[in-house]
């Protein structure tokens, strides 16, 4: 058996995820209201969203297209997993922020059935199967403890001490695609890898903005444990309210520990819904199966079944971007980079776009790939930026630096420093340079620039030899130490040469000549 991080020996963990992705349509799934985030409460709620008497839902075709796109993306473009006829059903329950007293969802005939997502944990690939993906509308939001300023309407609860509850229906009717996985994950790490992969897909194909803080991408995890080798699944708990990958990992790990401890202490896991409390890092029971509601699902008679013709699927397919898997394979074939590099570059469409532009400006695919995963990724992580952020230096400038490095005009160190300077935007002349370079005078401008700054790499052996002679003469102590067998002394001398050359000396040549001179 393979040991999994955080899982005691002898136990196996089974995890399935239900993910609600908010679709990036212009309007709600059954009304024309906007779905923009952060508007004043109830300013994006129409008569339909308020479920006023006499209102009827009309399906937003754009939401169906999002579901079709997803179905194609997780099935390698195969349209057989997209239902030719899909049905909306009513899920009936009462809640103050559910205006109709039912949620329009899908039950028996979802738009997407099947599919899979490939994850990679510690270099090991694994395929996670999908059960289904269905369309539904979001509910509104209850805001508790809300007190309407300066006025209390008749009929409100006369308990001012407890405050009042307000309902914001801006979110009611926002389109969601609920993606249900098979219980194929065996650790919190795998669950997070799956969630991240799914996040990558929905943002890649542009059906979801992926913003977890705003609730655009929410995961519920079904977690159970069993003794290793057991056939039968353990009783599961569903964890809700997880709004980041980090919390998903923590919540699942907490839940694994809780369930195993419970069983080891002779207890039994009960089927229930648990809420994750990030502040206390624990899950708490929200409702048990005994209080589980009977949703009385039935086909919504206000909406006709959605007929999804193959022509429509084809149309959607034609308008779809190249999928990450395909793009990665293409980059390996075209550019000769490794599949690991290609997977990392295909983490988002913007990333690929940046890479492809960089490749063009630098004239070197391999160097571009290395820079993407090295300098550029490090910068993005450090500054918490996305690749398409305007603060990220443009591909033309970075590509020119890489090209210059490739042509050995500047050293790698200078290249890095110049990139850093670009990122910091502290030097006025770098900004001026950016402007010049972006006027497409590129390389010539760059060469003039590095020459004027004395940054151009020196590969002239004579010049380097002269510098080395000076350094040897000025540092007899280091020379002695080196000759006595202290390898480290070479580094000190090397550093002195580089400093003397203003970091422009070709480092390989310096090392070679230095060693030769010292050996003599």
């Amino acid at each position: 058996m393979s040991a999994k991080k955080g899982i005691p020996t002898g136990w196996e963990v089974v995890i399935g995820l239900e993910t609600h992705t908010q679709l990036s349509t212009a309007s709600k799934i059954f009304s024309g209201s906007s779905i923009a985030f952060g508007a004043e409460p109830n300013t994006q709620a129409s008569a339909i969203d308020l479920a006023l008497p006499g209102t009827l839902p009309v399906l937003n075709k754009a939401a169906v297209e999002c579901a079709i796109k997803f179905g194609l993306a997780v099935n390698g473009g195969d349209d057989r997993h997209i239902a030719p006829r899909s049905v909306f059903a009513r899920k009936n329950y009462f809640y103050p922020d559910l205006p109709k007293g039912y949620q329009i969802s899908q039950f028996e005939l979802p738009v997407v059935t099947g599919g899979s997502v490939t994850i990679n944990v510690d270099g090991v690939e694994k395929v996670i199967r999908l059960t289904r993906a269905h369309l539904e509308e979001d509910a509104g939001k209850s805001v508790h403890g809300y007190v309407a300023e300066g006025y209390v309407e008749d009929g409100y609860a006369e308990e001012p001490a407890h405050g009042q509850s307000g309902i914001d229906l801006n979110r009611a009717g926002v389109p969601l695609l609920e993606i249900v996985s098979e219980p194929d994950m065996r650790s919190a790490e795998e669950a997070v890898a799956y969630a991240k992969a799914l996040h990558g897909i929905v943002t890649w194909i542009g059906i979801c903005d992926g913003n977890m803080q705003e609730g655009s991408f929410r995961c519920d995890a079904n977690v159970s444990v069993r003794k290793f080798g057991d056939e039968k699944l353990g009783t599961r708990a569903e964890i809700k309210n997880v709004n980041s990958f980090r919390f998903l990992e923590k919540a699942i790990n907490y839940e694994i520990r809780r369930q195993i401890e419970l069983i080891e202490d002779g207890g039994k896991v009960v089927q229930e819904t648990r809420l994750y409390d990030a502040e206390r890092d624990e899950t708490r029971s929200m409702r048990s199966k005994e209080d589980a509601m009977d949703y009385r699902y039935f086909p919504d008679p206000d909406l006709l079944p959605v007929e999804i013709s193959r022509d429509w699927v084809e149309e959607v397919c034609a308008a779809m971007p190249e999928l990450p898997e395909t793009a990665a394979a293409r980059l390996v074939a075209e550019d000769g980079i490794t599949i690991v590099e290609a997977r990392l570059i295909t983490q988002s469409q913007a990333f690929v776009r940046y890479y492809e532009n960089l490749r063009e400006y630098s004239g070197s695919a391999k160097r571009s790939a290395r820079w993407m995963l090295g300098e550029i990724s490090a910068f993005l992580n450090r500054e918490q930026l996305e690749i398409d952020d305007p603060e990220v230096p443009s591909e033309s400038v970075v590509g020119t630096i890489i090209a210059s490095e490739a042509a050995q005009e500047i050293s790698k160190t200078v290249a890095r420093e110049q990139f850093q300077a670009l990122c910091d935007k502290t030097e006025a002349d770098i900004q001026a340079l950016t402007k010049i370079i972006e006027k497409h005078e590129l390389r010539q401008a760059w060469i003039r620039y590095i020459e004027s700054k004395g940054l151009k790499q020196v590969s002239n052996a004579g010049a380097i030899e002269k510098m080395i002679d000076d350094v040897i003469a000025a540092n007899p102590k280091s020379v002695e130490e080196y000759k006595a067998g202290k390898e480290k002394a070479l580094n000190a001398l090397f550093g002195q040469v580089m400093k003397a050359s203003n970091k422009t000396a070709n480092p390989a040549q310096v090392t070679e000549i230095l060693k030769r001179k010292l050996a003599s």
């Binding site: 008497p53 006499g54 009827l56 009309v58 007293g101 309902i167 699902y297 039935f298 008679p301 206000d302």
Partner: protein
């Protein structure tokens, strides 16, 4: 010649308006005065003279500019199940006693804003259109103008009574299982429930979405044709609204053309085959109703039609199928009335859950509660297949039976209801007995077919009897035309209750 405005046909009112014999404001004043005099019928729930007269003035302006259509300036009233921006919209329920809609139903837009008809107010009905006697209104029972100790039928009882008493020349109604046809029959007026999807449901307070259908009520078939033509049409706000070639054919054009070529022969309905289902004439049909309906079919034969005996074998099953499907949908449709955003909210409650429960317990009357409970039951886990799915299967079979029947006939004719209007209070303690009254109308609703009711005589109790005419999908124009031919040779539709002449 002086026109009896109270009972004039829409065509003659048009002529009177066009020839300046009368203005729209005068017509509105006339009917408002009659409605106010007849408050004891309890047909109107909400009248607002100011609103009505402003619509009438606008209509007069249109007429003066020569921009009048066939219905411009003619008064009408809406069943209080259609939401209106100006008049309250109650659905006959305490739940919505003070509710004012921020928008007009599509039918209201079409008839009042589009065609330029003048709204006299809102008409009483069974609560959320649930009932066959109009005794289920939270605002009191409606009385039948032919005998005020009797029910007017339901659920569009206020509409039927108002037209029958000459309080309005026309009214809208809705039909889920017979709610246009049955009150029309019991009040001696004409009404048509169109093919499901003909008339937009947007702004119609929902009872059972897959069955609800709006339609007109008026004195004669020709009036109904004019009204339905103005009400019908695709509406992008209603996903179940029909948008095909057949639905796009104007009803009025079909109405006018249908039997024009035979008009001069004395046998205008030559070649028309009338199917008479044996199941509509069995046990339970009262003898006087049977006699009146048979006589009417005889009149159609005199007009050239031939009689064909047919069978609708699953007629009996329409009752259980309907009383599973309609409550199932109703239980869900009525969930929005929770006291949170609008409508009745309980004065006292402990918490949110308690507020919803008490508001609903107080706001709904007995019949909606009964149907919500039935509906929730048939949809619940473990019963869904046995009840709801089974009822849907039966529904499909019933629709097939009709298609089978239409292979041998053009129209199906029979009674609308087994009896004439009963006494107020007579069947109040036996809801099932009341449900059985719907046996002849439910199948048409389940199949989504058009069905109409035309007056065809009187029972032993001197109460009106209605003939039901059922057509195939989209055949409203021909049905109305056939009924119009019948009304050219009979005068049942022109009879009026003595107390309201």
């Amino acid at each position: 010649m002086s026109l009896n405005l109270s009972y004039a046909s829409l065509k003659s009112l048009r002529a009177a308006l066009d020839s300046k014999q009368v203005s729209s404001v005068e017509l509105a004043e006339h009917f408002l005065a009659r409605a106010e005099d007849a408050l004891s019928l309890n047909a109107f729930l909400h009248i607002d003279r100011g609103l009505t007269l402003s619509q009438a003035r606008a209509a007069d302006a249109r007429i003066a500019k020569g921009e009048a259509g066939a219905l411009t300036g003619i008064p009408m009233a809406h069943k209080d199940i259609f939401v209106t921006r100006s008049w309250r919209s109650t659905a006959g329920s305490k739940m919505l006693a003070d509710y004012v809609s921020p928008f007009d139903a599509t039918v209201v837009e079409k008839l009042n804003h589009g065609a330029g008809m003048v709204c006299l107010g809102k008409l009483n009905c069974d609560e959320f259109a649930m009932g066959s006697s109009n005794e289920n209104s939270a605002f009191g029972a409606v009385k039948n103008p032919w005998d005020t100790s009797r029910i007017p039928g339901g659920s569009s009882g206020g509409s039927a009574a108002a037209v029958a008493a000459g309080l309005t020349p026309a009214a809208t109604g809705t039909d889920t299982g017979g709610s246009l046809r049955q009150p029309a029959a019991m009040c001696g007026i004409s009404a048509i429930k169109p093919t499901y999807g003909r008339v937009s449901r947007y702004g119609m307070i929902a009872f059972a979405s897959s069955l609800d259908q709006g339609g007109p009520m008026a004195r004669g078939a020709e009036d109904c044709a004019l009204l339905l033509d103005a009400m019908a049409g695709f509406d992008e706000r209603d996903s179940t609204s029909l948008n095909n070639k057949q639905a796009a054919t104007p009803i009025l054009a079909r109405f006018s053309e249908a039997y024009a070529s035979n008009a001069s022969t004395g046998a205008p309905l030559q070649g028309v085959r009338i199917g008479v289902p044996q199941e509509f004439f069995g046990e339970g049909l009262s003898a006087d109703v049977r006699a009146a309906v048979e006589a009417a079919i005889g009149e159609f034969e005199k007009l050239g039609a031939t009689r064909v005996e047919i069978s609708l074998p699953r007629t009996r099953l329409s009752i259980p199928a309907y009383y599973v499907i309609a409550p199932a949908e109703a239980s869900s449709n009525l969930s929005r009335f929770d006291g949170v955003r609008y409508g009745h909210r309980a004065k006292e409650y402990r918490d949110l859950k308690d507020m919803i429960e008490r508001s609903r317990a107080e706001g709904f009357g007995a019949e909606p509660k009964r149907r919500i409970l039935t509906g929730a039951w048939v949809l619940s886990h473990g019963y869904y297949d046995a009840y709801y799915l089974q009822a849907q299967r039966v529904r499909r079979l019933i629709a097939q039976d009709f298609q089978e029947a239409f292979k041998s006939c053009d129209f199906i004719m029979g009674p609308v209801a087994p009896t004439t209007a009963w006494k107020i209070g007579e069947k109040n303690n036996d809801p099932v007995a009341m449900y059985l009254e719907d046996i002849f109308t439910l199948g048409v609703s389940l199949a989504g077919l058009p069905g109409m009711s035309v007056p065809c005589g009187f029972g032993a109790d001197k109460m009106p009897v209605g003939l039901q005419i059922i057509g195939n999908y989209f055949d409203e124009g021909r049905m109305l035309a056939a009924a119009h031919q019948y009304q050219q040779v009979t005068d049942w539709h022109a009879r009026t209750p003595e107390a309201f002449r």
